[in-house]
Amino acid sequence: MPETPEQPTVNQVAKLARIHLDEQQLTSSGEKLKQILEFVSQLEQVELPKDIEPFFGAIESVNAIREDNLQTSVPREKILDNAPESDGEFYLVPPVFRNTDS
């Protein structure tokens, strides 16, 4: 198993997860992460039979396919009712890029 993460790595993980954590939360999260990773490192001891396949889903069913027919869906306005901000047609979000001119 890889080394358990230290502070900079926790920072990096929070960045990847798009979660803002303050200094105190980063420390506490790092400690818990370390504790859990130490616990799960017991998996290292499991000797896998040669050529064992991973099991990703509880049921290995065939692919679910259906006729490509048009069906009614939930109306757009009902979906947008849950949007923090919308113009009635699209979701509105803050600027994607900051204006660096000003």
Binding site: H20, A58, V74, P95
Partner: protein, 490 residues
């Protein structure tokens, strides 16, 4: 006998016979919620339209219309399951104001059967927890001892059935979230086989493990609910086309000749002495019922918690990426898009959810995938193979649901690993996709409920329900109710 003392199947019979109206029935349980919910916090919200729906059922009955098989029966739904037009929060600040535009398939089916949704129950945020302490809406208290947890994540559903604030409830189970609270609250809880019940409209935690199921006082009530909610749903591509058994019909078939496996490893290390004794007593009951008890081995289940705490957080980190401040009501202030994502997720998610997303993100990040997710998924295969082997010898596997009875509020909040180990006997069924049920056995000497778990082959819920029902015909533990006013227990 007061309505709250009756089982759901008896209530349905009385409603059908006109001995009680749906309005009176719903009012009775609403009154109980009104009196007791402040102390228990089992419900996040009570349905404003429940009485109106009950009146409509009564009118339709009066007019001689044909009604569904649950007509007028109140039912509580875990708040991680979408009910159209009613706030559905998953116990999170992130979804505090979210109102789904559609019904989950199981809700649609319950409504078609003319059941009445009486309210939405409390849960650990996004179903991540084993105590219901991780809810944004505060913890639920166990009606058997209000200073103890009801288990989780479906703690509100378990507590409301135990306290008879609703005759029956629906929960969801990703690693034990139906069975563990059922065990802590002295009720019956069934996690069906993966694919048996549609997940459409269940707010996703870990999609390869999540499953919806009934939480009731008796196995017969669970069978009744399963007969409504089970079956293929084209809107859930993982739901199974496997034929649905007649769950009620097989309940009375005697257990003579049924082979029940007991894994001795699960009855030794780390198990509370009293739990062990009560489970052994229950084994004797199954012997009297004609079942053959055989020893089996499940060597790889010792790695189940470790595998689960890689796989479930990995899936969660992906599933919960959708809560980014764009679509689901909550958005934190920010100057640009990236900052909005980070602030929204930093402020909208609680600590445990953030921790699991962090863990999943770490385990899936570049360079770590093989060591964590892939390894855990291979161990998952070995766990499944253990079950495949065991089920060649036996029809059911019996053991404790949890290593201890309900622990105290706050007891494990600072120690995630201690909390995770509450699921040590339950996670394997989710990893393998098999059904499992928890039923009450004799309580501890201090009066705390203890649960027995039965696990079965995939899609053999009927065998589980039948064994649980036969056990409940022989014992009375499932009929016990916590005494009012609720007590604490040191």
């Amino acid at each position: 006998m007061t309505l709250s003392a009756l089982n759901a199947d008896v209530i349905v019979d009385q409603l059908n016979a006109g001995e009680v109206t749906a309005t009176d029935c719903v009012q009775h349980f609403l009154d109980r919620i009104q009196v007791h919910n402040a102390e228990l916090n089992a419900f996040i919200r009570v349905s404003e339209s429940a009485l109106e729906q009950a009146e409509a059922i009564d009118q339709r009955r009066k007019a001689g219309e044909s009604l569904g098989c649950l007509a007028g029966l109140p039912i509580a739904i875990k708040d991680g399951i979408c009910v159209s037009g009613q706030p559905t929060t998953a116990g999170s600040k992130m979804l505090e104001n979210f109102s789904p535009p559609y019904d989950a398939t199981i809700v649609e089916r319950l409504k078609s059967a003319d059941a009445i949704i009486i309210g939405k129950t409390n849960m650990d945020e996004f179903a991540m927890g084993s105590s219901t302490e991780n809810s944004f809406f505060g913890p639920t208290n166990n009606p058997w001892a209000t200073n103890r947890v009801p288990g989780g994540s479906s703690g509100g559903s378990a507590a409301c059935v135990a306290a008879r604030l609703a005759p029956v409830a629906i929960g969801s189970d990703t690693g034990g979230s139906i069975r563990q609270p059922a065990s802590f609250c002295g009720i019956t809880g069934l996690k069906p086989s993966y694919g048996r019940v549609s997940r459409y409209g269940l707010i996703a935690f870990a999609s390869s493990l999540d499953q919806i199921g009934p939480m009731t006082r008796t196995a017969k009530e669970s069978a009744l609910l399963m007969s409504v909610i089970a079956g293929f749903d084209p809107r859930d591509s993982t739901s199974s086309k496997e034929q649905v058994s007649d769950f009620l019909k097989s309940l009375e078939t005697p257990l003579a000749g049924v082979r029940i496996g007991v894994c001795r490893d699960h009855l030794n290390e780390g198990l509370d002495v009293e739990v062990k004794t009560k489970i052994n007593d229950a084994i004797s009951v199954f012997k009297q019922l004609g079942a053959n008890i055989e020893e089996i081995e499940l060597p790889q289940t010792k790695s189940a918690i470790a595998a689960y705490y890689i796989i479930a957080p990995c899936e969660a980190s992906s599933n919960l990426a959708r809560y980014d401040g764009v679509r689901y009501t909550f958005r934190a202030q920010a100057n640009d898009l990236e900052e909005m994502y980070r602030n929204t997720r930093g402020q909208g998610f609680g600590d445990e959810v953030k921790q699991r997303i962090m863990l999943g993100t770490y385990a899936l990040s570049s360079g770590y995938y093989e060591a964590y997710y892939l390894k855990a998924s291979k161990v998952r295969r070995m766990i499944k193979q253990d079950y495949d082997e065991a089920f060649k010898k036996v029809d059911l596997i019996l053991g404790p649901t949890t290593p201890t009875p309900a622990f105290k509020l706050g007891q494990h909040t600072e120690d995630p690993l201690a909390m995770y180990l509450a699921d040590i006997y339950t996670v394997s069924a989710n990893l393998a996709g098999i059904p499992a049920i928890s039923v009450p056995v004799e309580p501890s000497s201090t009066g705390l409920p203890i649960g027995l778990q039965l696990q079965g082959r995939a899609f053999e819920e009927n065998t589980l329900l039948r064994a649980a029902h036969q056990f409940q015909n022989e014992t009375l533990w499932h009929t016990a109710s916590p005494s009012e006013p609720w007590r604490t227990q040191s």
